[in-house]
Amino acid sequence: MNWLSLTDVEARVNALESLMVEKGLAEHEAVDAVVASFENDMGPVNGAKVVARAWTEPEYREWLLSDATAAIADMGFTGLQTEHMVAVENTAERHNVVVCTLCSCYPWTLLGIPPAWFKYPQYRARVVKEPRSVLAEFGVSLPDDVKIDVWDSSAEIRYLVIPQRPEGTEGLTEDELVPLISRDSMVGTALVTAEAAS
């Protein structure tokens, strides 16, 4: 078994699933169902809805900042790895960025599966030491007077960054704001602009 070979890993996962089904630890169709659930029902649009509501309803924003778990659950986003939430707010003075240096902790049901850059060693090693430089590599250049706060998710608490609402969006409804809010902006490696997120 070559752990560095993508084809070996794929073949071994296949073998493992086959054996797990035989031994009653898994079912093939249930695997399909779980994968489909993650891919279709969980994703950053869930988090974007939370952010859009925080931007348009000051009371919700306060609730989100004081008890994110309850405020996020209120919108139906509960579940694995989203059990304990803290929301941190970007302002003109402060920018937040989230990492899990020890593994890849991330609020699955709220933001979906984490992107590759979040899970691999490079980001995890550097962002707790040189966050401003790492953010610049993501295309985020912050003025020198903006303070950076880095959040290392080392226990079961998961973090949602509330990005700043961009200028020029004052007339948009909550639903119109949702497509502007990218996954990366809710982890802290992007800013939100008035153009739709990719």
Partner: protein
Amino acid sequence: MHGPHDLGGRDGIGPVDPEFLKPGIPEWRYPFEGRMHAVTAMAIAKGAFNLDEQRHGIELMKWSDYLDSTYYAHWLFSVEKLLNDKGYITHEEIDERMRELGTPSMTPHPTRPETLSPFAEKMIEVLWAGTPHDRPTDQPAAYAVGDAVMVRNLNEATHNRLPGYLNKTPGVIAKHYGAHHDPADSAHRQVETPHHLYMVRFTSTDLWGDEAPEAFDLYADLFENYLEPA
């Protein structure tokens, strides 16, 4: 333990792979990734092992394998080791099955089956119910918001959730979460022990020295037994 996963602050690991910064990449880039994720959740739901055991298993990978393998190879390594060591499926059975099955053909982005078996329904419920980690305790909290604390010089070779770069670093309690289940006891003894959990704030100079290249604050969630009064 300060294994290959304990990466915070390590130098020389290199820049983020530019491939990963291209827009529109799916979070699961290969069909085996979602399937590995799903079977792991199923094994946990079936009680074969718990999440803390699964995390710890990854920490036991060979350093070069950990650093250079594709991400879900980590999950495969850990789940395979746990299932082998607990007597469910041996490494040799997997070797043999790999030979028998040859090159797999996995469906990318499977659709949800028309009807769900009871187990599939249960798994979807588990996904949305989650498994909260807070626990009641009668133990009073040792620290309060605003207290100055020092991270202990903790170097056990067993599982914990203390990033090594925080060892011996002074910080300030920013929040007290109540008690959460201790990951070490869960990983090694499969028991639930409540320990008070705190959000602790650190400065970049305390972390990286007076010559630290950048100025920022860093927050980490640390259990009470990782801390001592400053």
